[in-house]
Symmetry: C2
Subunit: 147 residues, 2 copies
């Protein structure tokens, strides 16, 4: 099993504000994809849709201000069964976001792609919180072929 790892820090934003961007439909729609629906609370399923397809995430854990964990229950074959883990920590007036997309079976080319794409979406989350300027799909940063 292999994991995608990332970290960003969000300036002058407390962990609770980052937590809201990960645990509300409006928050998620502001940085990942505008077409987000479902139930973002613990035990719920969130439906994220993008022009080429999408992911359904079951919310496994929500610990206010500190931890969010999802399991992919529908989507591309390589994603189903993987988990997406978010840990938040306050450091001075920053919130550090530790991100892991865990449990890929193999380091396939699609995993390379998703690693880079996650980085751009984490920068979108940071931009949304720091300046109101998120870049959710379909306004996302393109890293390769139309994606």
């Amino acid at each position: 099993m292999v994991d995608i790892l990332h970290r960003v820090a969000v300036e002058k934003i407390p962990p609770d504000a980052v937590y809201r961007a990960l645990t509300t439909i409006d928050g998620l729609a502001g940085w990942w994809t505008t077409d987000t629906s479902g139930d973002a609370s613990e035990g719920g399923v969130i439906e994220f849709r993008f022009p080429p397809g999408g992911f359904d995430m079951k919310v496994l854990e929500t610990t206010p201000g500190s931890h969010v964990r999802w399991e992919v229950v529908d989507g591309p074959e390589e994603w189903v069964g993987t988990t997406v883990d978010w840990r938040l920590n306050a450091v001075d007036d920053w919130t550090v976001v530790m991100f892991e997309h865990q449990g890929w079976e193999r380091p396939v080319e699609f995993m390379h792609h998703c690693s880079t794409k996650w980085a751009t979406y984490l920068m979108s989350l940071k931009g949304l919180l720091e300046s109101g300027a998120g870049a959710p799909a379909p306004h996302d940063v393109h890293i390769a072929f139309p994606d």
Copy 2:
């Protein structure tokens, strides 16, 4: 051992042009850090310097238009002994860049940071080649605390 994986595709740029950006001092200085010196040919050592420090990379392999491989011979403790691997493939009028920073001992927080930071530098490489607009240090995209 754990690896950082990324992929970008560069539009209307042939593999040879990407290869030059990875195997010449001027090319490297255009997307990673302006303070790049040394010998970028096979067997040489390239010195990359950033405001907080730097890396010395021994060039293990250069296969024109397709493969470049470096070993970190000096720099932060977590980097020394790791390898940075670049594979280039033409797909239609794109060049696909498959990137791996291989052989991290543990998935420490610094590895999370470097994964996200590599993504921004790969976007800098893509920007340099597609439009002449690279973002090498010290003009790099900040993802966290002053970095």
